[in-house]
């Protein structure tokens, strides 16, 4: 009898963990794309998205916009930051010239597509590759991706 209660207890605990994880997952882009907050005057928006399965493993890496950490990559997720129109370099590393660079116009959205190198059957991931994606391609690929928070200013 006590074994039966133990088993029930485990199932309830597992369900609670799954529930908590589900609560952590943000809404899909397809749901929020028309309800994102409008841009402030003089600003543009930079989207970061990683169209890879959520079950690939590997450490999340910091993403920097002009050397400021704005968030981390996460498979099957996206986030965005608003920045004043200007010149931007996006990278995950300080010490190499990797990443992408682009101009951001007022009212414009730019899309940084991130892919993590798959190192084989271990499922682990290595180097991140970034590309400047066309809006149509990015919006199509982002449909199933979930919103993943950007870094809080001052608390990267």
């Amino acid at each position: 009898m006590s074994a039966w209660f133990k088993q029930i207890g485990r199932i309830v605990a597992a369900a609670a963990v799954l529930g908590a994880l589900a609560a952590c997952a943000g809404p899909r882009y397809s749901v929020v794309q028309n309800t994102l907050p409008p841009l402030a005057a003089g600003e543009g928006r930079i989207f970061f998205y990683q169209p890879q399965p959520s079950n690939i493993s590997g450490a999340q890496q910091k993403l920097r916009v002009n050397n400021e950490v704005v968030g981390r990559n996460k498979p099957a997720a996206f986030f965005y930051v608003d920045r004043p129109a200007g010149s931007y370099v996006v990278t995950n590393l300080y010490w190499t010239g990797d990443g992408v660079s682009f101009a951001l116009d007022e009212g414009q959205s730019r899309y940084v597509r991130i892919t993590a190198e798959n190192l084989g059957s271990t499922g682990t991931v290595g180097k991140l590759t970034m590309q400047l994606a066309e809006p149509e391609q990015a919006q199509a690929e982002m449909q199933p991706l979930r919103l993943w928070g950007a870094a809080t200013p001052g608390r990267p």
Binding site: S87, Y88, V89, T91, T96, G97, D98, G99, V100, S101, F102, A103, M130, Q131, L132, E134
Partner: protein
């Protein structure tokens, strides 16, 4: 025994790191910081379109192509020539970093690229003729 293995492992890591740095150095394009004087008068904004593909070689030896039919609008000028930005699709050059690139034309030739995200200019090894159709 342990320290020998550690030394061997360390040497391998150093070798791989050095090779990586050499390779990434090879991939980078040479750039110089420039100041873009933007076009402010809308009436003077010229457009051009390419009559055929333009194949060019970057300073790192990489060949890329400007697609036929792509349309560009004059965005301003730098000391090296007139700067045109794409009207339809992004154009990027691939060095170590993928950089958005706007064409720089001088004397009817493609002289290099202005990289607006880095406010810099990268010249071509050999300027190539731009087969353009100008529009006013």
């Amino acid at each position: 025994m342990f320290s020998r293995s550690l030394r061997k492992h360390g040497a391998r890591i150093a070798l791989v790191a050095a090779a990586g740095m050499v390779l990434s150095g090879c991939l980078s394009v040479s750039t110089q910081q420039v100041a873009l004087a933007p076009v402010t008068d809308v009436d003077s904004a010229n457009e051009l379109s390419l009559a055929r593909n333009v194949i060019f070689t970057l300073s790192n030896g990489t060949n890329q192509t400007l697609p036929a039919g792509s349309r560009w609008r004059r965005a301003g000028a730098i000391a090296q020539g007139d700067v045109y930005r794409p009207l339809d699709r992004n154009f990027v050059i691939q060095g170590r970093r993928q950089a958005e690139a706007w064409i720089v034309a001088a004397g009817g030739k493609l002289a290099g690229f202005y990289l607006p995200g880095e406010r810099s200019y990268t010249p071509l090894s050999h300027p190539v003729t731009l087969p353009v159709e100008m529009r006013q």
